[in-house]
Amino acid sequence: MSPTGSVPLIQVKNLKKYFRTPKGALHAVDDVSFLIKQGRTLGVVGESGCGKSTLGRTILRLTEATSGEVIYGGEDLLKFNKHQMKEMRKRMQIIFQDPYASLNPRMTVSEIIAEPIKVCRTLTDKNEINNKVNELMKTVGLAERFVNTYPHELDGGRRQRIGVARALATDPEFIVCDEPVSALDVSIQAQILNLMMDLQEERKLTYMFITHDLSVVKHISDDIAVMYLGQCVEKATSKELFRNPKHPYTQALLDAIPLPSLKEEDKLKKVIKGEVSSPINPKPGCRFSVRCPHAKKECRERNVPLVDQGDGHCVACVLYQ
């Protein structure tokens, strides 16, 4: 293995985030553990509402975790005080899903990109900041003439480039990408994805890539974690997962990818039935069991842990225990 890619950069252990609601505790993230190695990309997939975004925000402490650990550089982030956390924020950033909502409409492009630099005081000299902003704009492929424009004057792709530039402004090592391309046109999606992959190579970035789009995740990820209702149900390298999906939910997800084919047998897809059950006070047992074609009595009786099937391919399903 290459030197980058073997050192664990961030390790999440038993992370939980419950929201208190009038009806009970909403288990948004429930006992999720994983490890991302330096310079690699972990794709987190799952349908909407499964807690992917909350997971990303909890790791960055944009929402406080209920319990668990986030080990970054040997230290538990969740125990950091305000001051330590502020230092830490330089090293970890986030790219948001909606390039329309994530940029302050009253600030110009250059102000938006300069803001993290000013806040973190990585640079204090005005000229240096300007140079850095120009350099960042060039890096993400924004023409210099956009310096004084406002976000609303630009199209989605360019706006997302601003989002990327802002995330890069403090030279972070770790970036949470919260569905960065799902609000964009397909043609622009590819541009942004390629940009992000180039940046990763140049700057040795580590990504946690949250998405519901499997073709995107296949394109960009080294490892993939599949989430269902707050829990991680399957974890494997990208290749392994697409070649050999083990969990019935993962299989169903992969089956749902549309194929450009007119043959009859391709049109007949196995589609999982039913609805996602409520994340508020979930019943014990496998949460997918209500919809699972292989569900047995056993599934509903006990919680199913993630078990390594060899080669780092972990599955949480009674079929493989």
Partner: protein
């Protein structure tokens, strides 16, 4: 080729204030409002040069209720005081009170509202209930209480007027902040470690400017009129001192026979209110980059 030359010399970063002025300039009405206000302020400042203060308070019963003439441009009131002098000097009191009380209530209202909306929780609850109590008391009644407690005088009047308008600003700002703080760009600011203070002043307040400014311009007009009501019951600016609202109510009894005695101060109030409204509208549009063209 053109693109190449453009990329070699860096595009000049335009400052926010210059950009706002650039957009403001385009609105002719707003510029007219600004000129109007500047003229009014100049009149207020240069009042001693235009007409000496003695003429404001000098009573000349021989010439009481004199019509408009070369000697008395706007006539005289029932005590024979020169109306022109009173209107000119009145600009000092009216503008200082109107603009001053708005600035004070704007600053306090925006600050309290933004902090309450952003921080939320107990602080928000306590402060907002306090504001509710203040809002429950009619503005005039509240001003009467404050003036009665602090004593009559222009400065106390300023405090009274500001204190009674602050709750309105707090409410407006707070509600805008509440809807704003869920925005992703606020979260983005937090993600790079921006402190709460900077978030409020850099990200939240600029985005709630629109409703604040509209409220401010409306309040300005209401404040001048409220002062005249206070003067009517003897709690406004003390009598010999001229203030447009006060002049208006002093001459109320003469309205039937000498209508210009009421109309002229009325026009003065109207002009300043229009100026403020035009400026307010222009400023609101200029501050919003989305309405650039």
């Amino acid at each position: 080729m053109a693109a190449k030359t453009a990329s070699t010399d860096t595009v000049k970063k335009r400052s926010q204030i210059k950009a706002i002025w650039f957009r403001y300039k385009k609105n002719k009405l707003a510029v007219a409002g600004l000129i109007l206000l500047v003229v009014l302020i100049l009149v207020a400042i240069c009042a001693p040069l235009i007409v000496p203060y003695e003429k404001v308070v000098e009573q000349n019963l021989m010439e009481r209720l004199a019509p408009m003439s070369g000697a008395h441009w706007f006539g005289t009131d029932e005590y024979g005081r020169d109306m022109f002098a009173r209107i000119i000097w009145g600009a000092r009191y009216s503008l200082a009170l109107g603009v001053g009380s708005i600035i004070i209530s704007l600053i306090f209202g925006a600050l309290i509202g933004a902090v309450c909306g952003y921080v939320g929780g107990k602080l928000d609850n306590i402060v907002m209930r306090l504001m509710d109590v203040l809002l429950a008391i009619p503005q005039i009644l509240m001003a009467i209480c404050i003036v009665a407690a602090l004593g009559q005088g222009a400065f106390n009047l300023l405090i009274a007027m500001s204190a009674s308008t602050v709750p309105k600003f707090v409410r407006i700002v707070r509600s805008s902040v509440l809807s704003l703080k869920q925005e992703e760009y606020i979260e983005a600011a937090r993600a790079c470690g921006t402190g709460d203070g900077r978030i409020i002043y850099r990200h939240v307040l600029p985005n709630v400017m629109g409703p604040i400014i509209v409220q401010a311009t409306i309040t300005m007009a209401m404040t001048i009129l409220a002062i005249s009501s206070l003067s009517f019951i003897g709690l406004g600016v003390p009598t010999p001192q001229p203030e447009w609202g006060t002049i208006l109510s002093e001459n109320k009894s003469q309205m039937r026979y000498y209508p210009y005695l009421c109309t002229i101060p009325g026009i003065a109030i109207l002009v300043s209110v229009i100026a403020m409204n035009l400026i307010g509208d222009g400023l609101r549009d200029a501050l919003d980059p989305k309405l650039k063209n």
